[in-house]
Amino acid sequence: MILLTAVAAGTVAGWGFARWRGIAWQPPIFRATWLVALGFIPQFVAFYSPYTRTALTDELASTSLICSQLMLLFFTFLNLRLPGMPILMLGLGCNLAVILANGGFMPLTIDAASRLVNQAILDSLVIGERISSASKDILLPETRIVLPWLADRFVSPQNMPYRFAFSLGDVFVAAGAFWMLVGERPALSVLNSGDN
């Protein structure tokens, strides 16, 4: 939700800013958009589709996540000239690094989980296991996490109606997406010369 909110807020802000300046809003033009679709499919199958995610083993889900993020990282590299993309790439790199360092899933600290759910749900979770078939996260105590500052350790404020845990990488991804939609872009003629 934090990520979708960043895209929605960036779209509204970018459009509003362009209107305020009296110019037409130009969306970012990506190179190799097919790579995003190709990169997202493994994650869609492993985490988002309720029809397929329960059929995959944890090893397969983990491999899907890593392969997917590597493809997306390559996509961000190809589109580095867009505003916000270096920040988004940094966020993706942070998330991928902590995922690789912790066995192929994003670690969620017990402290963060305890601030999100009640004790009964927390007791039903197994340390070192995925927290659900729809999740990229495994529950780990902070002492067992490699690169703990990159894990899902931050929790949205208690007074927010929607509670979630997020990582430093997620913040960079959201900030990069927002900036991509609001920031100044290179002239279209330059972009079009390298489009696919």
Partner: protein
């Protein structure tokens, strides 16, 4: 009913290349951020 259909057809004909470009860009960006990020929400825990 006929007016509704006419309205729908009129709306559809107003969709141009720019609109499709916006939609494709948003879809690409959504897939990118969903794939790049890994936040965890309350609903996802223990599901």
């Amino acid at each position: 009913m006929k007016n509704t259909i006419n309205l729908f057809v009129l709306s559809f004909t107003k969709i141009n290349k720019t609109h499709l470009q916006y939609a494709l860009m948003l879809l690409t960006l959504l897939m990118l951020v969903l794939g790049a990020g890994a936040p965890e929400d309350v609903g996802g825990i223990g599901r």
